[in-house]
Every structure is written in C-alpha cells, then in structure tokens.
C-alpha cells in the first residue's frame, strides 16, 4: 500500500525519527518544534523537550507559534528564568541535542540567520542569532532541519552566526568543552551527515522519489554522496495521522477558533 504524503511531511517525520526516548532536546521554533513534538507523540514519549523560554520538559498539545506560548509553560514540568535556562541547563551540559532551523547553511554546516549581503549594508536583514550560537556549541550534538534549495544551501554562508565546523571544517578542533556539533541535517530531499574527516556535509540517505540530480540542483556546492547511499524509510500511516492532527489542532488554535 502506498501512502500519500508531501515532501514537507517526509522531512518532519524523518527529523522526528532522529530523536529518541531519554534525549534532552533544546528545541528551536518552527520545523524543529514540529518534528520534536511529533517524536514525542509517536515513538519517543519520554523525549525531554526544552524551549529557551525557560520551559523544561514540556508537552504542548498544539504547536507553539512563538517560543514562549502559554501552552509550553502550562504543560511543562517547571519553568525557569531565561538566564537560568542558558546558564544552568544549556551551558551546564544537560542538553543532549540542540535541534535547529536556519536561513542559510553551508558545506561545513555553519548556519547564517543574521543577514544576506554585507553586514553594514544588508540586502536582507534576518532575525539574528537568538539561542543558536550557544546551543550549537554547548549541546552534546546538533540536528538541523530546513528545506532544500540553492538559496539556503550555499557553499559559504554570508555570515557565520552559528558554528557548524567553521569555514575550513576545523572550527571545533582543539576547542575545550565543546559539543560534537551538527551530526545530521534533515531536508525535504535527503539526510546529510558530516564527513568524519573533512566535516563536509555528505548525503547519506535520499528520500523516496528523490534523485541525486534533485539534490545536486538544490545545493549550492558540489554535493557529495555517501558510498552506501540509503533510501530514507517512508512515513508510516500512524506518523502521518498524528502529524496531520497536530497541525490541524495547531491551525485551529492559532486562528483563534478554539
């Protein structure tokens, strides 16, 4: 039996599957939040979700629009101040996975959420770093999820807001007390991981129906593919159902209907 699903759903389900019970996940808003809550509502009910607004171990019934919707606090084990969140919980070493989105990413998984163009005369001013610069270095590892396109996957980001592996792939070498950094990037086309040596992102798995050419065309550098290129497992009917219900509940709530 073949299921119908969108590439966005494929991305979210694949991102969700990266999380496991017992992980403490520092969740970025948007795609990471959608994936993290799907994980919690399907295979990983014990995954601990933490948002930078101070909400520890939260279980929202609908997806928050902002990083600090009331839902997050009401369903949390406890809510701490923002300084405590960044100092004790993130910098204190209690986060196993930082789950981030981004506007731009480059071949060494550096993230740019600051601006397109020149810093002092920006073409497009983006929101800025937020929690990402320290999430990426203080969490034990980092997952990244975003849509695949030549605009977002660039050879060199215009600005390194948040360290992947640096402009030469060696940005974490010899730095004490730093996490492993990005261990996987999940897009609507594929899954990438950094090469163990060079740290350049390599496609390790193609989503069903996606060709190498699709990925090559959507990537701003000469993307490499793993020797053992895998095919990403399809979403299950259950995952799709839970995801769609979650998004429906969310849309109704944010439209003020509930």
């Amino acid at each position: 039996m073949s299921l119908e699903y969108t590439s966005a759903e494929m991305m979210t389900v694949t991102a969700a599957r990266a999380l496991e019970n017992g992980m403490t996940c520092f969740v970025g808003i948007g795609l990471p939040s959608e994936a993290a809550n799907l994980a919690r509502l399907t295979h990983a009910p014990e995954v601990v979700l933490i948002y930078e607004s101070g909400t520890l171990q939260t279980k929202p019934d609908v997806l928050p629009l902002s990083i600090g919707d009331g839902e997050l606090c009401e369903s949390a084990l406890t809510t701490v101040s923002v300084p405590e969140m960044f100092r004790y919980w993130l910098q204190g070493g209690h986060i196993s996975v930082g789950f981030l989105g981004t506007a731009q990413i480059d071949r060494y998984a550096n993230l740019n959420t600051t601006l397109i163009g020149d810093y002092h005369d920006p073409k497009v001013r983006l929101p800025g770093g937020g929690g990402a610069p320290e999430i990426a270095t203080n969490a034990h590892e980092v997952f990244i999820t975003l849509k695949h396109s030549k605009r977002t996957f660039v050879k060199d980001v215009d600005f390194v807001t948040t360290l992947g592996f640096g402009r030469d792939g060696k940005g974490r070498d010899g730095v004490p007390n730093i996490g492993k950094g990005p261990t996987r990037v999940i897009t609507d086309l594929c899954v990438m991981k950094p090469d163990p040596e060079t740290k350049e992102l390599v496609v390790v798995s193609l989503h069903p129906g996606v060709s190498r050419e699709d990925v090559i065309e959507a990537t701003g550098w000469e993307i490499r593919f793993a020797d053992q290129l895998e095919s990403t497992p399809e979403p299950s009917a259950h995952e799709l159902e839970v995801l769609r219900e979650l998004k429906d509940r969310t849309d109704r709530k944010h439209a003020g209907e509930v």
Binding site: S53, R125, T137, G166, R172, G256
Partner: protein, 292 residues
C-alpha cells in the same frame, strides 16, 4: 560623613534617600517621569508579559533617540522603531516569532525609514547573562559563548578573557544596566510588591539591573497569595507600579488572557507596508486614549 562613596547601580534606600514602597502612578505619569529622550530603556518579557501598553504610551508621548534593549524586539519594538522613537537597538533575535520578519525593523535597517537606526546584536545566551550580571551589580558577564560565531567581528562589545584557573578562553560582555526597565506582571499588592508567574524570562533581572523601573500589572490585590519561592519583586526595588489591564496584549498574561497569535500573524501584513503601519498606529495608539 554623609557623602556616599557608593557608586553601585541601584540607588535604593541609602541613609539619605529611602523608598518604603513603589509609587503607584498612572501609565502616563510613569512614562513621562522615567522615560526620558535619549534614555537607555529595556522593555522585557520573553514572549510572555510584553509591556505593550507601556510601549504605546512611549509612542504617544513621542519619546525620541531611545536606545532600546530587548532580547526579542517582537512587535512592541517594531512599533516603537516605526514610530520613530529609536536611535539604537540592542537585541539578540529580531523576528515576529513563528511568522517571519519584523518589517519595521528591517525597513529601518535596510532602507533607513523613518530614519536609520544603529543596531548592536548579541546571542540570547550573552544577553541573558548580561541581564543577570546587571542584576548582580557586576560590570561584566562571563560565558562559554560565541565560539566560532562571527558576531564578535561586528560587535566590539564582545571580548574574550582567559580563566585564571584553567586557561580556558571565555566570552565576556558588558552587563546590561538600563536607565529604566519596563516590565509587565500579573499583579501587585498594595505595597507595590509584584508577582511574576509563568514564563518569567529576564523580567526580574531587567528590573534589578536598571536605575529606575516601571512595572505595569493587570491588577492590584490585597494579598499576592503565593508560594514561598514565587518570583516576587519587592515594592522597594521598583520605582513605579502602574495598573494596565490587558497591558501585555497581544502578548499574554498567564492566568489572565492568552497570546493573540492571530494578531501576531496579521501584524505581518500591517507592518509590511508603511502606509498600513502608519494608519494602524494612528488608530490603535495615537488615538487610543490612555490604554491600548
């Protein structure tokens, strides 16, 4: 001998000047008295309890050349920037949460409308630590931050120090010490003691780090009726307490009203267009009495 040699941040209760409790003021009077043109102002509230009513009063009183500090500028600073109150913005994430850009912020930065503004940007961790250090009366905050980020290239306030015990290189940023901080909270008692509950953000730190502070509240009650370790700010650590019902809408007040996520989405269209924004401001702020 009465001359104080004390240069600490918070000028409270010295033998010469004492505050028994915060003063209860109208929103108009509190803003008129404490928010001066050219001042450094922090209006805090992390998504929750954003002091919109106070922000609108600042716009109505046409305050100018403000240096605004806020981790997440949110709609309230988008409005202040678009209204021409702002000279400089210190922030760490300037978007409309879950929606997209702050178009008034972008228009000011990219196109200089209504005028060019300076920006100084940090990461959340650094700003949270800087508020914490300000509350703690320290001149600097130290954190394991900015590793590999290019933000230190464009923000000369970010320095690095060496730990004298381990030799580790750590980031240092100046603490945040606003002239005035403005926050919103659920309630105050009749002595001006304030309860903040739910997502408490950096509210307490913002108040304690500032020379002066305004706290707007949903209501005044006889008894805060709370638990031993609640986030309570004593009245004597606050300059002015102001009743501003629905004072944080379209943000929210835990236990009082929800975040108006629909309005946050609608703001995108309003703020995208200068005329639409100007019209909105006219109708919803300038012509909207004392409260909005």
């Amino acid at each position: 001998m009465q001359r104080s040699t004390l240069g600490l941040v918070n000028i409270v209760s010295t033998t010469k000047r004492r505050t028994i409790m915060a003063e209860f003021l109208s929103l108009h009077d509190a803003v008129a008295r404490y928010v001066e043109d050219g001042a450094t102002v922090a209006m805090e509230g992390f998504t929750h309890l954003i002091p919109f009513a106070a922000g609108h009063e600042v716009i109505r009183q046409k305050k100018r050349d403000l240096t605004l500090i806020r981790m997440t500028p949110d709609l309230v600073y988008d409005q202040l920037i678009g209204a021409g109150c702002v000279k400089k913005l210190i922030f760490s994430w300037g978007g409309n949460p879950g929606v997209g850009s702050l178009h008034r912020l972008r228009d000011a930065v990219e196109k200089g409308w209504p005028h060019k503004i300076e920006i100084l940007e940090h990461s959340h961790a650094a700003m949270a630590c800087a508020f914490e250090a300000g509350a703690a009366g320290l001149p600097l905050a130290v954190l394991r931050g900015y590793v590999g980020s290019e933000l230190p290239n464009v923000n000369d306030q970010i320095k690095f120090i060496e730990c004298p015990f381990t030799g580790e290189r750590l980031a240092a940023v100046p603490s945040i010490r606003p002239d005035v901080s403005v926050v919103h909270a659920q309630k105050a008692d009749r002595k001006g003691n304030v309860l903040v509950e739910g997502i408490i953000g950096v509210q307490k730190e913002a108040v304690m780090a500032a020379k002066r502070s305004i706290v707007t509240v949903e209501e005044i009650v006889d008894d805060l009726n709370t638990h031993p370790n609640a986030c309570v700010i004593p009245g004597w650590a606050i300059s002015a307490v102001v009743v501003a019902e629905k004072g944080s809408a379209p943000s929210y007040a835990h236990g009082y009203y929800d975040r108006d996520n629909r309005f946050y989405k609608e703001w995108d269209a309003i703020a995208r267009d200068r005329d639409a924004f100007t019209k909105w401001l006219e109708e919803n702020v300038y012509n909207a009495g004392g409260q909005s």
